[in-house]
């Protein structure tokens, strides 16, 4: 195991929300010393050139196509994309084919992931068998097998009796439930958010109210069952007051939002551009700004990529028929820099939402820039400009809405457990 001395770095500390110039020594997989004036003997010395050094991103909610859709993304390709994107821990979703809903299945993917990926991978498991919303999974066994959270992803359980029992049972094991707040009736068949744009394009829309209704229902169940609850994506202004109220009343509730909902709006769909079709659909600019503000205030805790690989075939369809989702492991950080350059979020605020908070919520030691924390770090230049060419992405699927767009922010190096897993200078794995 190498010892590494990083100096001349702009340290981004999401715990104190401060930035300062400094040095970091990585040793035995941990951040050993912060602020040492000289390099230890025999250490690899890296001059950071004044660029930013932050805790590696902990991405809550990554879809990998194993099992079932390995042609869209494998643990290997996702891991390489994550390393190049400064994501040091992927929390992968169970919405695979078949779903990760048994301890045997979880052990299988855990083994596959460990062999293939240069970054850390932790797994979520389904809350109900087959994500069908009928019977709960073996939450206890799945926890023992390493599940960090339980989620049916975008399948919303309509039967509140089933859901309340699953919540109640999960509470007894102190398990975290990740839900997709959405009213299933109102959102059925929707491809875009209701409004003038949806109507002019002739596409079926869903009112943002469906998200609030889903959240209201879930929060009532949380109040009843007392479970630890995380809403995967809160994307509308209307959902913020109930969230704020729940937190104020002491419910164990957190919320996330995808980078796409923070940086794009419904008009970006333009002439039926299916790479902009995500779930829930992109919202109005007013909603986007409200949600950005909620991240700044800390009301929304977590920013994630909602990385969802789709092949060309499933996107090259009429808008209504096209698959939802966008890849984002590699574009999460540069897209987040848009919020930094717009003066809406500071770098420590961004890394609080992308690293510290998700790690804390899942009980992981990552996400901090502190002595004794795991040496999972990202070195990046927040100002480096480039034009994104989707075919340069390391994901097997290239369905990014940022194709051809001007971006700022480049990952220079990524460290996992003190080892460099990506180095921009060498153009790949270090």
């Amino acid at each position: 195991m190498t010892t590494t001395y990083l100096h001349n770095a702009r340290l981004i500390d999401p715990e104190t929300l401060e930035e300062r110039q400094g040095t970091v020594i990585l040793d035995r997989g941990e951040i050993a010393v912060i602020g040492a004036a000289v390099a230890p003997k025999g250490a690899r010395v890296i001059d950071c050139g004044g660029k930013c050094l932050a805790p590696g991103i902990v991405d809550l909610g990554v879809k990998v196509g194993e099992p079932g859709e390995r042609h869209k993304e494998s643990f290997r390709s996702a891991g390489l994309a994550a390393a190049a994107g400064g994501v040091t821990t992927m929390i992968v979703r169970p919405d695979t084919t078949p779903a990760i809903d048994s301890p045997e299945m979880l052990e299988f993917v855990t083994r596959r992931a460990r062999e293939a990926s240069p970054v850390r991978i932790r797994h979520m498991a389904a809350l109900t068998k087959g994500r069908e919303g009928r019977e709960m999974t073996e939450i206890g066994f799945l926890l023992d097998a390493g599940a960090v959270a339980f989620s049916d992803c975008d399948h919303v359980t309509g039967n509140t009796k089933v859901l309340s029992r699953a919540f109640t049972y999960a509470r007894s094991l102190n398990a975290l439930v990740v839900a997709h707040p959405q009213d299933p009736g109102l959102s059925a068949g929707a491809a875009v958010t209701t409004g003038k744009f949806a109507s002019l394009r002739g596409l079926p829309g869903v009112s943002p109210m469906a998200e609030r209704m889903g959240l209201d229902r879930d929060l009532a169940l949380v109040e009843m069952a007392g479970v630890r609850y995380h809403a995967d994506q809160i994307t509308c202004a209307r959902s913020l007051p109930p969230l704020e109220r729940a937190k104020r009343n002491g419910l164990d509730v957190t919320a996330g939002v995808s980078i796409h909902h923070l940086t794009l709006n419904d008009l970006d769909v333009g002439d039926y551009r299916t790479f902009f079709k995500v779930k829930p659909p992109l919202r109005s600019e007013e909603d986007r700004l409200a949600v950005v503000e909620a991240v700044a205030s800390g009301l929304i805790d977590i920013i994630c990529s909602m990385h969802t690989p789709q092949d060309e075939e499933s996107k090259r369809l009429p808008y209504e028929d096209a698959a939802s989702g966008a890849v984002a492991l590699q574009t999460l950080l540069p897209a987040a820099m848009r919020l930094y350059h717009a003066g809406q979020l500071t770098l420590p605020q961004l890394f609080r939402a992308m690293a510290l908070n998700p790690a804390k919520r899942l009980g992981l030691p990552q996400g901090r820039l502190a002595e004794g924390a795991p040496a999972d770090l990202v070195l990046f230049d927040p100002d480096a400009p480039f034009v994104l060419d989707r075919f340069t992405l390391r994901s097997k699927s290239k369905n990014t809405p940022f194709d051809g767009q001007r971006m700022e922010g480049r990952v220079l190096m990524t460290f996992v457990g003190g080892e460099a897993v990506f180095d921009h200078a060498t153009g790949g794995t270090a």
Binding site: F197, A198, S199, R201, L203, G205, Y272, L317, P318, D321
Partner: protein
């Protein structure tokens, strides 16, 4: 040349002078169509393919006749939706057809945006003959021509569009066109059949028929698209007819010289009373059908001119 478009995908992309260019040329074709010999050679040697992924008798025959009167070789492909796996086949069919070097492709498809997708994959001019709930541009143009010929102008009129606005591509295209030509547009219908965000359209919205029809110059009725209803949008047909069906009593609120339009096919006794539809002093429904052929001839003629010019430039290496 004021008509610059390469495809006719929607009214949204047309400028007012392009709309006027279509209508002016269509006026000439109306005269031609009333002669015994109705043939020109504007599209001579060109191939027109009509691809209908959704059943249509009226629009398809109108496009077929328009192409034949312009001298094109016309082929009809009726692709029954049941036998087509959506999407994949759409691109594949488009590429297959493209390899046969058509010059004009007329497409109707049940998915909004499907014609835009198809147009991005082929080298010929594409005409949208209706896509989902999105647009039906030739219908709006033929309606505009009908209004212009009946009223002497297509600006500063009060036009009431009544019925199932939410599911109607005819309503979309018409309200965009009428807005571009500076008319006052009113949308009338039950709130369950109004599209979302309708308040931002720049139209007046009414759920009361009498109030909405007051002093209207043009009354456009829409078909109640029963086949698109996947939930109870209205309580019953008879209540709908009572509140929103056009009869003499409701029409009395419009201007005395107001004209009545309907894109067809009509549900007599559901959205329109039979006697109104047949009243030759008020109804211009048959004229709409006549104008349809002329407008489609004009659109195809103009697109073919642009296509020839583009190919000419490509062949001689002159940049546009």
């Amino acid at each position: 040349m004021s008509f610059r478009a390469r495809h006719l995908l929607g009214i949204e992309h047309l400028a007012p002078d392009e709309i006027r260019a279509v209508l002016d040329l269509a006026d000439q074709y109306v005269e031609l169509n009333r002669r015994t010999v109705k043939r020109t050679d504007a599209l001579a040697g060109m191939t027109q393919i009509n691809m209908f992924f959704e059943n249509s008798t009226r629009t398809q025959s109108s496009f077929e006749l328009a192409g034949k009167r312009l001298g094109a070789d016309v082929m009809n492909m009726t692709v029954a939706q049941s036998s087509v796996k959506k999407g994949e086949t759409l691109i594949d069919t488009a590429l297959t057809l493209n390899a046969m070097h058509p010059d004009l492709l007329v497409v109707r498809h049940p998915s909004s945006g499907a014609v835009n997708l198809l147009a991005s994959k082929v080298n010929c001019a594409v005409l949208n003959a209706g896509d989902g709930r999105h647009e039906h541009p030739t219908q709006a143009l033929l309606d505009a021509l009908t209004i212009r010929r009946a009223k002497g102008r297509i600006h500063r009129l009060t036009v009431a569009i009544c019925g199932d606005i939410a599911h109607s591509r005819v309503a979309r295209s018409n309200l965009i066109l009428l807005g571009k030509m500076e008319n006052r547009v009113r949308l009338i219908g039950p709130p369950t059949l109004m599209p979302s965000g309708v308040a931002e359209f720049g139209c007046e919205v009414f759920d009361d028929m009498a109030a909405g029809l007051k002093d209207a110059d043009v009354v456009m009725m829409l078909r109640l698209q029963k086949e698109r209803m996947d939930g109870g949008f209205i309580p019953s047909e008879r209540e709908y007819f009572h509140r929103y069906g056009l009869d003499a009593e409701k029409l009395a609120h419009a201007r005395p010289d107001a004209i009545v339009m309907h894109p067809g096919p009509m549900n007599r006794g559901v959205e329109i009373d039979g006697t109104i539809a047949d009243d030759i002093n008020r109804s211009v429904i048959q004229e709409q059908v006549e104008m349809g052929v002329a407008v489609r001839m004009a659109c195809m003629d103009l697109l073919a001119r642009n296509l020839r010019a583009e190919r000419g430039r490509a062949a001689t290496g002159v940049m546009a």
